[in-house]
Symmetry: C2
Subunit: 679 residues, 2 copies
C-alpha cells in the first residue's frame, strides 16, 4: 500500500494516493473526477473551487487533519482579496496534498453540472455544451524554428488540454496575433466541437482570461411566434426568455398559405427568408440587452421549427412541402455557421444547429419535443400534443413512438378570433361562466384579480381589457359549453334559448358578450359563432391527429397526456378536455410541459450527446402522414362536436357536466351553409 | 480453373474470369482496373471507352474471336450517332463479355491519367483532383418512409459509388430539389474531397448529365504579377494561362513597403486585401472568357504566394511579418470556401486551397516550387532560385533541403529600371553587344527578328520598341560587362574610356544607349548607372541568399541550378552567371523550370496526394532566416561586384571572357556615396 496521502473526492467517491505537494486539480484529473478548470491550473479562472472536509471519516476510514492541505498561497490570497472566495473554499489548482484528505467538489465546480429545469416532469440537463471556454499559454514564436501562431495555439491545446484536430476560420485568424501579444501569450479560446466529430473549431479568441462568459440561444421558431431562451453556456442557466411575432405572418397566417405565397409570387421565399432572419437578429439583440450580455458573446444557437419554417430559414424554396409526397430538401440535422443564415447579431463565427426533421410535415420542433419529453423512454403510453398553428403530435412508449402533425391553424393562438390577440398585458387569459346566471368573470394578463373582485378596474386601468388570447378563448368556449350557452354541435343559443341578454343576435347567429368596455373607451369583447367555428376546426384537427396515431397503435385510450407548446402551460386540462382537444383521460394525468420544443432546443444547446441521441431517435420514430390518410377526414368530422360526436369521455364526465342543450332548428345552422353552397 | 471467359486488361495486365454477360466496366471495377466512369455505367458519359483487341495473343495465352464482346447495343448505336465513337472503341459499360478477350484502356479513359507537363525536366502529373463529377440515380421520395432529398442523394452515393460522409452547403440545398425533379431523379454532382479527410462536400448539382465540365484555377500570386492557369479538372489540361499586375503595387513596390503602408495607414491592409481579391476575380473572369468556359464552373482554386501576399489575401494584418521574429498567423495549409475570400467570380461553393508556408519569409510559393521541382527527391545537390520581387531559394538533395527568401526587389521584373517595363509586346527581351564595336542588337517581345535584321522595323511597327523587361535588363547588363562597357565594380565607362559614343554622360555618371527611337516618336532607351545599381542590389541579394544556404551545407559549389519564377524561363543561364546572380556551375547544369510556383499550384490542383505530400515535406525543410543572419550582409557586400568580388567562377571562365576594365578613379564611384553619407 502506498505511503502517499490518500485523497478522497465527494460526491464521486473516487480516491487515490498522491505524493505530498500534488495540487488537488492534478489529483482530480488523474482520477477522472469532474472538476472544472478553464485556465488549466493557473489560478486565474477560479472554476476549480473545492471544499476540504476535516475530522474523522469512519465511512472512508480516514482522519483529516487541519494541515491536510497546504496553507493559502499568494494566488489564493490575491483571488480572495479581489473577488472573494466562499468560506471553506480553496482553489483546487493551488491547494496541494499534505496528508489524507476528503475533498468535496461543489456542483458549480463540476464541468458536467446538472441543470434543474422548471417543469416538474422534466429531467435535469447535464452540461456538456458543444462550445466551451479554455485558457492556453502559447509558446512565443522563434524565427529559427518558424511556425505560425495558430500552429503554436494548436500545440498548446494538444499539450495542455489533450485537444487535437483544431482549426480556425478567418475571423479568428485575423484576431489571433494581436490577442496573443496583448495577452502576453495567454489567450482564452471559445472552442466548438460539434456532435459526432473530433474536429474542434476556434470560434473566438480573447487576450488573457476572458471574463465575459459564453452564451447560447435556444430558438423555437413557430409559424406565429418566435420564442428564445438565452442560456449561459457554462452554467446552463436561462438568463432571459423572450419572443416576438413571426413577421412572415404578413405573407400568410398558416404554413400552407405561406407555401402558396411562394407559388404565386416568385421570389416570395426570399422575402420570407429575409424577414425571419431579421426577426431572429432583432430577438437576439433584445434578449441579450435584457440579460445585459454582449450579443457578440452568443456563440451558438439551436433552432427548432416545423419543416416549412426550416426551409424558409435556410433559404430553401418550401414548395415541395406543399404537395405530396411532401419531400424535404434535407431531413438530417444541420450544423452551419450563423453567418450563412445572415444572423449578424451573434458572434462572427457563431454556429447554428438545427435538429433533424421527422418528416415533411413533422419538423425539428417535434424532434425537440421528443428530446424534451422523451416518449421513447416512457413506461406508459403518453400522448404529447404541441399546440401551435401547426400541432405536432407524438404517441408512444419505450416500445414504439409515432408522430404526425396536424394543421390546426392559428385560432389557438388568438388569431382568426374576432376579439383575439396575442398573449400580452390586457388580454383575457382565464374565463369562468356561472352556469346559473350565465354571467362571466375573467382575468387578464398582468393582474391576478378576477374581474368581479374589488380593485380589478384599478389594477387593469393601465392596460385595459383589450381582447382574448389563445388560452382565454379555449376557456371561454369550454365554459360556454358547460354553462349551457353552447350546444354539442357548437351553436350559440339565443337570449331566449339561454335566458341571458349576453347572448346577442349577430346576423343569423348569436354571440356571447364577455365584456363591454365601451363605457371606458374600450372594446366590446364577444365570442361569436365564427369564433366557435374556428376553434372547432382547430380542435378537430388536433383531436383527429391524435386519434389517427391511436388507431395505428390500436388503442382507444392513452395513459397520460402532455400539453406542450408556447402556451401549453396556460391551457387548463379540464377546459381542453371539455372542448375535446385531447382524448378523454384522468384529469390528473393531463400535465403541461410548457414550451417543450423550446426546452428541447435548450437541451441540445447544453448537451452535445443529446444531439446525437435525437438524431438516432428521430430515425426510429414512425411517421404518419395525416394529409393523405382517409381516416383523418373521418376523425376530423366526428371531432367537430363538443367534446365529440361519438367518442365517450367518461373521465371528463366525472369532473364536468355538459348540459344536453340543442339550439338549432333541425338543420338550422347548416341551412346557411347549404344556401351558400347552392349560390 | 474457371470455365468463365478470361478478360485481360492492358496496359495494366490485370486479368480475371467473368461470367458471360458481365459488362467490361464491371469486370474492370472488380479487378481494380483504372477505367473512368462518371455516369456509373448508364451509357451517358462515355468516359469508360475501351478498345478490344482480336486475334492470337501468345503472350497472354489467349485467342480472341470477333464475338468475344457482345454486339453493339442501342445505347452504343445512339451514342455513336449523336456524338461519334472512335474507330474500334466500345462503351465499357455496354459491351459485355462473351468469350476470352483482351481489352485496352486508352489513356483518356483512365481516371488517374497522367498529364505530361511542358517543362522538359518536369515529371507528369497523375490526375486525382479533389473535385470530381459523378452522376447518381436517386430514389424518389416516399411520404410513408419520409427522408430528405439530400439524404437520398447520400444513399445513392453510398450505394452507387461507395462514397460516405457526404454533406452539402446551403447553395446546393437550394438547387437540389429542382435539379432532381428536372433531371428525372438523375443528377450530376461536383464532389469535393479535401486531402487528409474522408468528408465529401457537394459543390454543385445539375439535372441529368452535366456536359459543361469542371475547372480549376492555379494561381501564383506574386508581389508584382498574378499569374493563373485555368485547368480542366478531368483531363488536367491547361486551357488558358493569363496574368495581370498585382494592383497592390500602388501601395508599395516590394513586400516591406506594403507592410510599412499598413503600419502607417490603419485599414491599409483592408484596402490591399480588397484590391488583390478584386484582381483575382478579374483574372478569373478574363481567363475563363479566353477559354470559353463559364467561370461558375471553376470549382476550385489553388493559390501559392509569399507570406505577406498570403496574409493580405486572407485579410490578416501582415504587420508581424515586417519585424522579427516574423511570425505567421498560420503556417499550415488552408482549405476554405472561396466566398470567404470574396472570390465571387467562381462557383458559389468553390473551394480554395493554399499551400503551407515554410516560414515568415518563405511562403507557399516556395512550397509550390518544392512540390514542382522536388529537391527532396534529387540525387545531386540542386539550387533552385525562384526569381521575383522576393526570391525564394531552395538548396538540397534527398538527404536535406534548406530554404530561405531574399528581398531582391522588383528590378528583375523591370521595375526600378529607368526604361523598365513589364514583359509585353514592344519590350526588349534579348540583347547582344558586339565586344569590338560596342554596338548593340536586340529583340523585342512580339517579333523573332533581331533589331539588325531586315524587316525588324516593319515587324515591330505596331508595338514600337517601348522599354526593357526583366530578362532584357539582365542580358543588357551582362552584355555590357562582357563588352567592356562596365567594370567589375559596376561602373559604366565614359565614351572616352569605352570608345563608343553610346556611353553617354548622365550627371556624374554614364549611361549606355541601347536604342534611340526618338526619330519615330519612340523613347530613348538607355541603361543608366542607376539601373546597374538596382540590378547589383537585386543580384547581390539573390546570390547572398544562395551562398548562405551553401554555408549551412558547408559546400562551395552546387551540382546544378534551376532557375524558376514567372520569367525564369526567359533568363539566359550564361547572362545570369556573368551577372553573378547564381553561383558558378557548368552551363549545361543550369536549367529553367519556368513558373515552378505556378506549376506547383497546378500539381496541387490536379492531385490530392500532392497536397498531403507537400504539407509533410514543408515540415522537413530547414528554414534559414536571412534577415537576422550576419553572414548574409557579408555575402551581400561581396556579391556586389560583377560577377563577384572574391568567389571564383571557373565554369563561367570557360564560356565567357570578362574584360579586366576599371573605370573608377580610385574610389571614384564611391565618392558620391561618401558625400551623401556625410551630408
Amino acid at each position: 500500500m502506498s505511503s502517499d496521502p490518500l485523497v478522497i473526492f465527494t460526491p464521486s467517491g473516487k480516491r487515490g494516493h498522491f505524493p505530498v505537494g500534488t495540487p488537488i486539480l492534478t489529483a482530480a484529473r488523474q482520477l477522472g473526477v469532474d472538476l472544472d478548470s478553464v485556465c488549466g491550473g493557473r489560478g486565474i479562472c477560479s472554476k476549480c473551487q473545492i471544499a476540504p472536509s476535516f475530522g474523522d471519516f469512519p465511512k472512508h476510514g480516514v482522519t483529516v487533519s487541519e494541515t491536510a492541505l497546504s496553507a493559502w498561497n499568494a494566488v489564493e490570497e490575491r483571488y480572495d482579496r479581489v473577488r472573494g472566495l466562499k468560506q471553506g473554499r480553496r482553489l483546487g489548482c493551488q491547494a496541494t496534498v499534505q496528508g489524507d484528505v476528503v475533498v468535496d467538489v461543489p456542483p458549480e465546480s463540476q464541468v458536467h453540472r446538472q441543470v434543474v429545469r422548471k417543469a416538474a416532469s422534466a429531467r435535469p440537463i447535464t452540461m456538456d455544451p458543444a462550445t466551451r471556454l479554455l485558457l492556453v499559454e502559447v509558446q512565443e514564436p522563434d524565427m529559427h524554428e518558424p511556425s505560425g501562431d495558430l500552429e503554436r495555439v494548436q500545440d498548446a491545446l494538444r499539450e495542455q488540454w489533450g485537444i487535437e484536430h483544431v482549426h480556425a476560420g478567418l475571423p479568428v485568424l485575423r484576431k489571433l496575433q494581436p490577442a496573443l501579444r496583448k495577452g502576453d501569450w495567454k489567450v482564452s479560446l471559445a472552442l466548438h466541437t460539434p456532435a459526432n466529430t473530433e474536429q474542434t473549431q476556434i470560434l473566438d479568441v480573447w487576450p488573457g482570461f476572458h471574463e465575459g462568459g459564453l452564451y447560447g440561444l435556444a430558438i423555437d421558431l413557430g409559424s406565429t411566434t418566435i420564442a428564445a431562451h438565452l442560456c449561459d453556456l457554462v452554467t446552463g442557466e436561462v438568463l432571459a426568455s423572450s419572443g416576438l411575432m413571426n413577421p412572415q405572418i404578413r405573407f400568410g397566417e398558416d404554413l400552407m398559405s405561406r407555401v402558396s405565397y411562394v407559388m404565386m409570387n416568385p421570389g416570395g421565399d426570399v422575402e420570407m427568408t429575409n424577414a425571419v432572419r431579421e426577426a431572429i437578429n432583432t430577438l437576439a439583440g433584445e434578449i441579450a440587452a435584457e440579460a445585459r450580455v454582449d450579443p457578440a458573446l452568443i456563440m451558438e444557437t439551436v433552432v427548432v421549427c416545423n419543416p416549412v419554417m426550416h426551409h424558409l430559414l435556410l433559404g430553401i424554396d418550401p414548395v415541395e412541402l406543399g404537395q405530396a409526397p411532401f419531400a424535404l430538401a434535407t431531413s438530417g440535422s444541420l450544423a452551419l455557421p450563423a453567418r450563412d443564415l445572415a444572423l449578424d447579431a451573434l458572434n462572427a463565427e457563431a454556429q447554428v444547429y438545427l435538429l433533424p426533421c421527422i418528416a415533411g410535415h413533422v419538423g425539428a420542433d417535434a424532434a425537440a419535443v421528443a428530446l424534451s419529453e422523451a416518449p421513447d423512454k416512457s413506461e406508459d403510453l403518453v400522448l404529447i400534443v404541441d399546440v401551435g398553428t401547426n400541432a405536432e403530435i407524438l404517441l408512444g412508449d419505450r416500445t414504439r413512438v409515432l408522430a404526425c402533425s396536424s394543421p390546426t391553424g392559428p385560432a389557438f393562438e388568438g388569431a382568426q378570433i374576432s376579439s383575439g390577440q396575442r398573449a400580452a398585458p390586457g388580454a383575457i387569459e382565464r374565463v369562468e361562466i356561472d352556469p346559473d346566471t350565465k354571467e362571466p368573470r375573467f382575468r387578464v394578463i398582468g393582474s391576478d384579480l378576477w374581474s368581479d373582485q374589488p380593485g380589478f378596474a384599478e389594477a387593469t386601468a393601465a392596460t385595459g381589457v383589450t381582447g382574448i388570447c389563445g388560452s382565454g378563448i379555449i376557456e371561454a368556449v369550454a365554459e360556454m359549453r358547460m354553462a349551457g350557452l353552447l350546444d354539442a354541435s357548437g351553436l350559440i343559443g339565443s337570449a331566449a334559448q339561454t335566458g341571458t341578454a349576453r347572448a346577442e343576435p349577430e346576423g343569423r347567429t348569436h354571440a356571447y358578450l364577455l365584456h363591454d368596455g365601451t363605457a371606458d373607451g374600450g372594446p366590446r369583447i364577444t365570442v361569436t359563432q365564427g369564433d366557435i367555428r374556428a376553434i372547432q376546426l382547430a380542435k378537430s384537427a388536433l383531436y383527429a391527429g391524435a386519434r389517427l396515431l391511436m388507431d395505428q397503435l390500436e388503442v382507444d385510450t392513452v395513459d397520460r397526456v402532455v400539453l406542450a407548446g408556447a402556451f401549453g402551460a396556460h391551457i387548463s386540462p379540464k377546459h381542453a378536455m371539455v372542448l375535446g382537444m385531447i382524448p378523454d383521460a384522468p384529469l390528473d394525468k393531463v400535465t403541461s410541459a410548457g414550451n417543450a420544443a423550446g426546452h428541447g432546443a435548450r437541451i441540445a444547446l447544453c448537451n452535445r450527446a443529446a444531439r446525437t441521441q435525437i438524431e438516432q431517435t428521430v430515425g426510429r420514430i414512425h411517421k404518419v402522414e395525416t394529409a393523405v390518410e382517409p381516416r383523418f377526414q373521418e376523425h376530423f368530422v366526428a371531432a367537430n362536436a363538443i367534446p365529440h360526436a361519438t367518442d365517450p369521455f367518461p373521465e371528463l364526465a366525472k369532473v364536468a357536466t355538459l348540459p344536453a342543450v340543442a339550439f338549432g332548428a333541425s338543420g338550422g345552422s347548416d341551412g346557411g351553409r347549404r344556401r351558400r353552397r347552392r349560390s
